[in-house]
Amino acid sequence: MLVINDLHVSVGEHPVLKGLSLSVGAGQVHAIMGPNGSGKTTLGRALSGHPAYTVTKGTATLAGKDLLTLEPEERSHAGLFVSWQYPVEVPGVSNADFLRLAYNAQRKAHGKPEVPAKEFPALLAQKIAEARIPPEFGERQLNAGMSGGQKKRNEILQLHMLEPTVAILDETDSGLDIDALKSVGDAINAYRRADRAIVLITHFQRLLDLVKPDRVHVLTDGRIQQSGDVDLAGKLERDGYDWIVRG
C-alpha cells in the first residue's frame, strides 16, 4: 500500500534521510523507532509535502500513486494522513467547521456529494465516539488552547473523520496521561482495517503494548537499519539503540 524506495531527503543543505526504504501492506501496522535526530519526523513531513523538506532521490507511492509529485492537499486526497508531533494551533477556527470542510474536500476530490452543514453534527458525534474523545472537542477551536495531549487526541479525531488509507502517526503517544494513552490506543485499534495501513512513529514500547505492530523498524542515520517483529521493540526498550548504531 505504502511503498518507499531509496528515499533521500534534505532540510536545506543538510541530508537527513539517506536511502530509506519501507513497504507497508494493507491491513498492517508498522512501528518506526529510533534515536532523536534519526529522521523519523522527517519521513512523515517529506511524504506529506512539507516545503522545507526536499526529496533529492527516491520514490514513494501510495496504492501505486506517486506521492512526491502531488501538492499537500492532493496527497491527503490520495489517502495519506500524517499527524504532527506538535500540532499547530489555529485560533478562531472551530474544530467542527474545519472538520466539515476537510471532510467535504475529501468527498469532493473523490466525486462524492458534500455533506450539508445541518447533517454534519450527527456525523461528527459519531466520529468523536469512534475516536474516544470527549464530545466538547467538536466545539473547541482547532488545537488552540489545548494541552499537548489534547492536541494529539484531536488529531486522532481527524484520523477517524478523514478515513485515510495510510496513517503516519508521529509520536502520538507523547504528552498523554495513562488514561488518554489507553483511549488513543483503543481509537487506533478501532481504526485498523484490512484495507488500511498505519505507521506508528514512537520512542516507547507503551503504545506498542496497546497497538500491536506487525513489524518494527529501527531508523538510525537516515536509514532503516534493523527490522523485526514486536519483540524488537522490547529489546530496544531494554538495551537502547547502541547495539544497532555500533553495528
Binding site: S48, G49, H50, P51, E71, P72, E73, R75, S76, H77, F81, V82, W84, P87, V88, V90, P91, G92, V93, D97, F98, L101, A102, A105, Q106, A109, Q141, L142, Q158, L162
Partner: protein, 368 residues
C-alpha cells in the same frame, strides 16, 4: 430658546468652528496614516429642517426615535451647554460636521435596548447622540451604519455612564461605505462598564475616533474592532483610553485584514494618570496583510504616570502563518479554502465579541 433654535445655534457654531479648523492634513499627528484626499471633495450639505432626518433612524423598543418627521430636538438645556463646550474645544473639522444635523439625547433608566440603523444616502450629513445612562441602569445598543458611494457622514456619540451602569455596543458597518467619520466620547463612572465592539469592511474613508475616560474606581472598558478592508478602501481606528483613577481596567483588541490597495491604521493610547494606582490595561493590535500593495500602520502606546499599574500591549503586522496554512492543506483543503478559513478565524475572535446575536448575524463570515 426653543429646541429648534438650540440645534440651529449649535449648527451655526459648528460650521464656523469647522471653517476655522480647516480640513485635516497628514501633517496632523492624529491623521498621519489617513489618505485625506476624499475629504477635499465638495459634497452638497443637508440644509435647514431637512437635516432633521439626515438619513438617520433610530428605534427604541419598537418605537422610532426620533419621531419619523421629528421637529424639536430632544436635548436638554444642560446637554446643550455641554455640547457648546465640547464644540468649542473640538480640534477636528470632521468632528464638527456631526453638529450639522440633528442632536438627540437618550436617557436610560433601568434596562433598555436601542437599535440605530444609520443610512447615509446622499451628500454630507451629520448627527449627534447623547446617551445618559442612570446609575445601575443598562443599555444594549446596536449601531448599524450604511452609506452609499459619494456620501460623507459624521457621527458624534457622547456617553455618560453613571455609577454601576453598563453599556454594551455592537457597531457594524456591513457594506463598503462612502466616507464615515465616527467620534465617540465616553465617561465611565465607578463600577460602570463600557463594551464597544465594532466591525467594518472599510470605506472610501472610514475613521473611528474614541476617547474613553475611566472616571471612578472599578470602572471597566472593553473596546474591540475588526476591519476587513480591500480594494482602495480605508479604515482607521484612533483610540484614547484614559485611566483617570485606579483601580480600573481596560482591554483593547484591534484587528485588521488588508487586501488589494487598502489602507488602514490603529493608533491607540492607554493613558494612566498620576495616582491611578491599580489600573490594569491590556492592548492588542494585529494586522493581517494579504497583499503587498496594501498598507497597514499600527501605533500602540502606553503613557503611564502611576506607580502600581499592570499594562501590556502587543502589536503584529504579518501574513498568514505558513504552518497553519500547511496544516490545513495536509488535511485536504485547497489553498484558497485554507486561506479563507484562516482569515475567518482571525476575524472571528472579534466578531464573537459582538454582544448581540443580531449584530453577529450581520457580519459575513466566509466559511461555507
Amino acid at each position: 430658546m426653543t429646541g429648534s433654535s438650540v440645534v440651529e445655534s449649535l449648527r451655526e457654531a459648528a460650521q464656523a468652528r469647522a471653517a476655522v479648523l480647516g480640513l485635516p492634513t497628514t501633517a496632523a499627528e492624529d491623521w498621519r496614516y489617513v489618505n485625506v484626499a476624499p475629504l477635499s471633495a465638495a459634497l452638497p450639505p443637508h440644509t435647514g429642517s431637512g437635516s432633521a432626518r439626515a438619513g438617520a433612524m433610530a428605534v427604541i423598543d419598537g418605537r422610532m426615535f426620533p419621531e419619523p418627521m421629528g421637529t424639536a430636538p430632544s436635548i436638554s438645556e444642560q446637554a446643550h451647554v455641554d455640547e457648546q463646550a465640547r464644540l468649542a474645544a473640538e480640534q477636528e473639522a470632521p468632528a464638527c460636521w456631526s453638529w450639522f444635523g440633528q442632536s438627540h439625547q437618550v436617557r436610560v433608566r433601568g434596562q433598555q435596548r436601542l437599535t440605530i440603523d444609520h443610512h447615509a444616502s446622499t451628500g454630507l450629513s451629520g448627527w449627534r447622540l447623547l446617551i445618559d445612562i442612570a446609575p445601575q441602569s443598562e443599555l444594549d445598543l446596536i449601531l448599524i451604519h450604511r452609506s452609499g458611494i459619494g456620501t460623507r457622514a459624521s457621527v458624534g456619540i457622547v456617553i455618560r455612564l453613571g455609577v454601576g451602569a453598563h453599556l454594551r455596543v455592537s457597531e457594524v458597518v456591513p457594506q463598503v461605505a462612502g466616507q464615515l467619520l465616527v467620534h465617540v466620547d465616553a465617561g465611565v463612572e465607578r463600577d460602570a462598564s463600557l463594551t464597544w465592539t465594532s466591525t467594518s469592511r472599510g470605506g472610501e474613508l472610514l475613521r473611528w475616533r474614541g476617547v474613553v475616560d475611566l472616571l471612578g474606581t472599578g470602572a471597566h472598558a472593553n473596546v474591540s474592532a475588526v476591519d476587513r478592508v480591500g480594494e482602495r478602501n480605508q479604515a482607521h481606528r484612533h483610540l484614547r483610553l484614559r485611566h483617570r483613577v485606579g483601580p480600573t481596567t481596560s482591554t483593547q483588541v484591534f484587528k485588521t485584514v488588508l487586501d488589494g490597495h487598502a489602507n488602514a491604521s490603529f493608533d491607540g493610547l492607554v493613558d494612566v494618570a498620576k495616582g491611578a494606582d491599580g489600573a490594569n490595561a491590556e492592548q492588542l493590535s494585529r494586522t493581517l496583510l494579504l497583499s503587498s500593495t496594501a498598507r497597514g500602520d499600527t501605533r500602540p502606546q502606553l503613557d503611564i504616570h502611576a506607580d502600581e499599574v499592570k499594562a501590556g500591549h502587543g502589536a503584529t503586522i504579518g501574513q498568514l502563518d505558513a504552518d497553519e496554512l500547511l496544516y490545513l492543506r495536509m488535511r485536504g483543503l485547497a489553498p484558497s479554502m485554507a486561506k479563507g478559513l484562516l482569515i475567518d478565524g482571525f476575524v472571528r475572535e472579534v466578531v464573537a465579541r459582538l454582544p448581540h446575536a443580531e449584530a453577529r448575524a450581520l457580519v459575513e463570515i466566509g466559511t461555507p
